[in-house]
Symmetry: C2
Subunit: 104 residues, 2 copies
């Protein structure tokens, strides 16, 4: 579908992508992690996109197996949600991943 | 208002009350804490109550200053949200509070 293509293009063209909801504390936690690392993800707030937001959420589930937010991609690779991102951060593995995605 | 009275009665008559949303991980964390303590809060899932849910959320803000979920009461006293509850739990202060509310 064209929305699947949109998501694939988005995550291919942006080193860090976070599908998020503005009112969600787990989404906020992930955004805070990237802020601490002084990098700026492309953040897509699904709750601000009306019906397109729920369509995107369904497409993400189809593409990644993950329906929940936050849904995180680095260098085009599906990372997971809040727990996955925090785990990588705490293990010191997130930063190298970001650097690689940025071609450094 | 009658909804304010409903909330006041609810938190007065139930030793632990959690105003929650079913899809919210912060709400789940709080429910997990009480499960670990082998106590059963009265859980009110605001997202399952349609427009009454948002009215309750507004009333809670008026009564407690807190609009967000989870919104936790023990022994009729407003405890706060997820962070507040976890802090009390980690300090070992939550259990005594619950015991007291249960008249033990
Ligand atoms: N363990 C997952 C939990 C993700 C989760 O349950 N997310 C909730 C919001 S906190 C969700 O997407 N619920 C369904 C929805 O909001 O549509 C993580 O760490 O990201
Ligand atoms: N620091 C607060 C955060 C509470 C919070 O931001 N809750 C969000 C959901 S995770 C909320 O209620 N957002 C508005 C809404 O869902 O109506 C806590 O620990 O409980
Ligand atoms: S909606 Fe509460 S943590 Fe995501």
């Amino acid at each position: 579908s064209s929305m699947e293509e949109t998501v694939k293009t988005t995550v291919a063209e942006n080193s860090i992508v976070v599908y998020s909801k503005t009112y969600c504390s787990y989404s906020s936690q992930v955004k805070t992690v990237f802020k601490r690392l002084e990098v700026e993800p492309l953040v897509i707030e699904l709750d601000e996109l009306g019906s397109e937001g729920s369509q995107l959420q369904n497409v993400l589930e189809k593409l990644t197996g993950q329906y929940t937010v936050p849904n995180v991609f680095i260098g085009g690779k599906h990372i997971g949600g809040c727990s996955d991102t925090l785990e990588l951060y705490n293990k010191g593995e997130l930063e190298p991943m970001i650097a690689k995605a940025n071609g450094k």
